[in-house]
Structures are given as structure tokens and as C-alpha cells.
């Protein structure tokens, strides 16, 4: 809309500003809480301006095992676990789905459509639905309390397979034919053509999947009983319940703040690709 009405401008800005405040206020409160000591945080009213304890809290949280009296592992360990899990899920999901899409789009093999529909049907089976049998399988394979157990069941993805299928379908047939005439076999075509041409899509998918992996809650809760394998998202919940008496909000909020950083870093770092990958159509 190319309208120029001051009143409309005012309303649109107002709506946006209110929206931003709604989103930003909890984050601000979290930040403020992570800069005061435990005593201050136990008093009402809660502070709205930052205090001077940020570095102290950071040291306490990052290297200590979170809270006094809780059994969670050190927060750096939890973050590392979360990071490894998220990376394994991302890399696994991207590799598996790009290969499945490659097979479905470029090869004619028996039961091709059957496989296609089987993948499609898994859309209806997220991990929450199949959680008991999946747990059973993972337990029998001895993968409880391991990175494999954390990530493998979350790797298969129909959505990502479809996304790559769509990407491949936009690549003109003549490109494949040119490459064939140039002597490129299936492997070379994949690595020399498809992979570079889907680069931005891979980046976009990586952002989405990394955050999906990082924020996993239910599944890690089930397969990790060993505290040293816990993830940071779980530990926040555990810290809340850890101590009788008042929760140590300064440490908990610092943990929450730390938990937010990697996804933010990924989004900011990949923003350029992300936007390109979702909007670019020219091939």
C-alpha cells in the first residue's frame, strides 16, 4: 500500500511498537534478573533496571553446576550437549532428506512412488506420537544416554525431503542433460550441480532445524537419565524444581539467557542465506 495518511502511519507504528514491547519485555526482565544477586531477586517488587552482578552470575552459572543443591551438570556441559544434539539433528536431517529427494526426483526405480508416499505418511508421525515404540527401539539398541539416542530418532524428515524435491524440480532438465553430455555421472552431478545449487536452501533449512533441535524437550527428557547428558532446555525446568524454598532466579535467568544465545547466533549468522533460500527462485 502506498498511502500517505499520517493517522494511519501513527496507528501502524503504534501496533508495531506494542508488539515489540510485548515480545521484548520478558527478555528484558530475564536480562535484568541475570544481573542481580539471589537476595535481591527474592524481594518484591522485582527490579526493572540492571544490577552489577552480571559477570559474577555468568561465572557461577556457566562453570558451576547451575544451582546449589541441584543435580544438573555444569551449564557449559549442558550447552555443549544441546549443541552437539542440534548439530547432529541438523546435519543428519539435511543429508538424509537431500539424498532421498535426489533419489525420488532423478532416479526411476521400482516402487518409487510407494517410497514417496511412505515418506509422505511419516508427516503424520512426529516423535511425540511414536514416542513409546521409539523409546523401546532406542533402549534396545543401547542408545540411551548417548548423542546418537538423542538425535537419530529426530533425523528423518518428510518436510525437508519435500522441500528439496521442490528445489530439484525447479532445476531445468537441460542442466542434467548438459552435465551428462559433459560426462558427469550421478555422484558428480549431485556434488557438482545439485549441492551448490541448493546451497541457500540448505542454509535456510539449517537455521530452522537447528532451532528445532536445540529446543527439543520431550525426547531428551526421556532418553537422558544421566545428568551429564542432559540438555540445557531440560535443565532450566529442573532448576525451577530443584530447591525447596525460593528459586534462585538470578542463576535460572542467566541459564535461560545462555540458552537463547546459540539460536540467535545461528539466525543472525545465516540471515542472508535464510532470506535468499526462502525467496530465491531463479535457477
Amino acid at each position: 500500500m502506498v498511502e500517505n495518511r499520517p493517522f494511519l502511519d501513527f496507528v501502524t507504528h503504534l501496533v508495531l511498537i506494542v508488539g515489540i514491547l510485548l515480545v521484548a519485555l520478558p527478555i528484558w526482565i530475564m536480562f535484568v534478573a541475570s544481573t542481580h544477586d539471589a537476595v535481591r531477586m527474592a524481594h518484591v517488587p522485582l527490579p526493572l533496571l540492571p544490577g552489577g552482578q552480571f559477570w559474577e552470575n555468568l561465572r557461577l552459572t556457566f562453570f558451576g553446576n547451575g544451582l546449589k543443591g541441584s543435580e544438573t551438570a555444569a551449564v557449559w556441559q549442558l550447552m555443549l550437549n544441546s549443541f552437539i544434539m542440534a548439530m547432529m539433528i541438523s546435519i543428519g536431517k539435511i543429508s538424509i532428506s537431500i539424498l532421498s529427494a535426489y533419489a525420488i526426483v532423478y532416479f526411476r526405480f521400482p516402487l518409487r512412488m510407494t517410497f514417496f508416499w511412505m515418506i509422505f505418511i511419516t508427516l503424520m508421525l512426529p516423535v511425540e506420537v511414536r514416542i513409546v515404540p521409539t523409546f523401546e527401539v532406542v533402549a534396545n539398541l543401547g542408545m540411551l544416554n548417548s548423542y546418537w539416542g538423542l538425535s537419530v530418532p529426530l533425523i528423518a524428515s518428510a518436510t525437508a525431503t519435500f522441500m528439496f524435491r521442490q528445489v530439484f524440480l525447479t532445476i531445468p532438465d537441460e542442466l542434467l542433460e548438459s552435465a551428462r553430455i559433459d560426462g558427469a555421472g550421478p555422484m558428480r552431478f549431485f556434488f557438482d550441480m545439485l549441492l551448490p545449487l541448493s546451497r541457500t536452501n540448505i542454509a535456510a533449512l539449517f537455521v530452522i532445524v537447528f532451532i528445532y533441535g536445540w529446543n527439543q524437550y520431550l525426547w531428551p527428557l526421556l532418553v537422558t537419565t544421566d545428568q551429564s547428558m542432559g540438555t540445557i532446555v531440560i535443565s532450566i525446568k529442573q532448576m525451577l524444581e530443584a530447591e525447596t524454598g525460593s528459586p534462585q532466579w538470578n542463576v535460572i535467568m542467566m541459564t535461560a539467557l545462555l540458552a537463547m544465545l546459540p539460536p540467535v547466533a545461528v539466525v543472525i549468522g545465516m540471515q542472508k542465506f535464510f532470506v535468499k533460500g526462502l525467496t530465491e527462485t531463479e535457477k
Binding site: P172, E174, L175, E177, E282
Partner: protein
Amino acid sequence: MSKIKFDYVRKSYGPNEVIHGINGTIEDGEFVVIVGPSGCGKSTLLRMVAGLETITGGEIKIGEKVVNKLEPAKRSIAMVFQNYALYPHMTVFENMSYGLKIRKVPKAEIKRRVEETAEILELTPYLKRSPRELSGGQRQRVAMGRAIVREPEVFLFDEPLSNLDAKLRVQMRLEIKKLQERLGITSIYVTHDQVEAMTLGHRLMVLNGGNVEQFGTPIDIYLKPETLFVATFIGSPAMNILDGRLSDDGTAAILTTGEAIQLAKPLLSHKGQAIKLGMRPEHLIRCDADKALLYLNADVVEQLGADTILHANLGGSGETVIARIDGVVPAASGERFSFTIEPENLHVFDSDKGKRIN
């Protein structure tokens, strides 16, 4: 460099046969243009030579080798596509060298060949650019370059100029012709452009509905089309075809309006039979009314400057005739014109089979 031989080549998609047995030989170093209406199977035939489509029946030989079962990369061919099919993520240099790299040609040799080719095609300043930073004409040249550096035995072109504007098309047409002459590589060029068909190749193959209608030099095809289809397909504006019959002694064609037109040679075998009489618009000559063979009433007059195209009807009958007159001719619709034609410019076709009989 080598010749290409089609031996009763057929192609079916499922139950549909789209190429019905094509024969013919393309000589070493020859430039053959394949022309025909949309959907007649031009691209299919070319792609069978390239190895991009399987061959349902018959044989294609390149040189002395039957290539039916050979991978495209092993056929020693290079192909230029209508949309160029450049690799969008590679620079011009990488685009041109990709095939050589796969073939494990030494680096120095690749560099030499690419630079040489770029020189011929005036692409040297663009070697480091990516295809999206090039104009249509430059992309077209890169596609050509990619074909040339591979030093194939056969070039295949599938309507390579149809995405260019008219002016660039003329320029590239000349360049392709010069290049083919210079390199002397056997080439097949698919087009549906009249001018490209007439001017580019040594020989022209006219395809219709999966069959070869005629295969000969462009001038032969223009002067002596073997079938009604070729007669109307080659030439622009298209040849006029009038209904008629041969006189009882076979020396003249009699039109539906009653005019008798003397033939160059009597056609004794078809005396008295129904025929189709073909006359090219450019062969109709204006003359005085008393010498005229045809009287045309103008319907629409198109002034092109260099010549005038007269859309007319034949003396009151419903049959339309197009005449092409040199220069500017002031004419109004409804005006009556008299025309004559040299007997050797008459084309006589069998009315049923559409085969040439004179």
C-alpha cells in the same frame, strides 16, 4: 569428425510412435538443418543422436560406430540447448572447462583450449563472470564455447537462437555459419525459422509428423518441393495452392475459374486428372490485362517498403492468393490486378497423395 547415418530410426513414447522410421546420411563435415512444424519430432530426433532419448527401433551410427546403447558422454558429441543450460553457479571459464575436467584433461591443456575458444568467440573479458552477469547473446556464445572446447565429432543445436532478439539472431546466425565452416565439424541444427533453414546448412531435412518429407539442398527444396507439405512449409509468404485439373491432352492446368495455364512440359501420365497447382507469391508477375493468366481482386494490401504483399481472391472464386510485388505499389482493396507466371515456376501436385508430378 565423422558422418552420421540414420537407419530406419523410430521412436515411441509408450504406445505413441512419434518418429516413424527415418533414413539418411549426413556426410563428414556437413551442416544439416532439420526443420518442421512444432511437435513433428525434430528435438526428439536430435536428442536420440545425443543419447538423451533411447532409440526404439533402427540404428544411428556416428562414424562407423552404432551408438544406440552409448552414453551421451561417450558419443563424442556436443549440444547447444535452446535455454543454453549453463551451470548457473560456475563462472564462464568453469562452464567451458567442466567437461574437460571430468575427462581428466591436464590443467594447462584445459586452460589453453578454453582461452583459445574464448578468443574465437570474443569471450575473453567474461571468463571470470557468472552466467547471470551476461547478456542473452553472451550466454549463447558461452553455450557454443562449451560445445567447441570439447572438440567433438558432432555438434547438435536445438533452436539455439530462438531466445534472442531479431537483430542478435541475424548476427549469431552468421557467426554459427562461419564457425562451422572454419571448424568443419559435422553439425545438425534444429530450427523452425525459415531464414535459418534456408541459409545455414548445406542440406535441409524437412520433417513432418515423424517422417522425412524431403532431404536436399535448400535451393532444391525451394525450387522443387517434392510434396505439398514442403511446398507450403518452405517459403514465406507460403506458396499459393490452387485447385484445378489437367487438360485432356495434359499440356495445361485448368483452374476452377476456367483459366488454362500452359505447363512447361506436358504431363501425359495424369491427363484430365484433378491436381493442385502451386505458385510462389514472388513468382507472380504483374502484366497487362490482355496477356494475363490470372485475375486477382485485392482484399488486403500490405506495404513493406521493399515489396508489397497482396492478399487477393482469384477472380471471384473463394480461393485466396498471395502475390508479392517488388517496390511500392499503390493499391486499394477491391482493385483488380492481372498476373502472369513463367511455366517453369509452376508446381503441379497429385491431388490425392500431394506428391509432385511435374
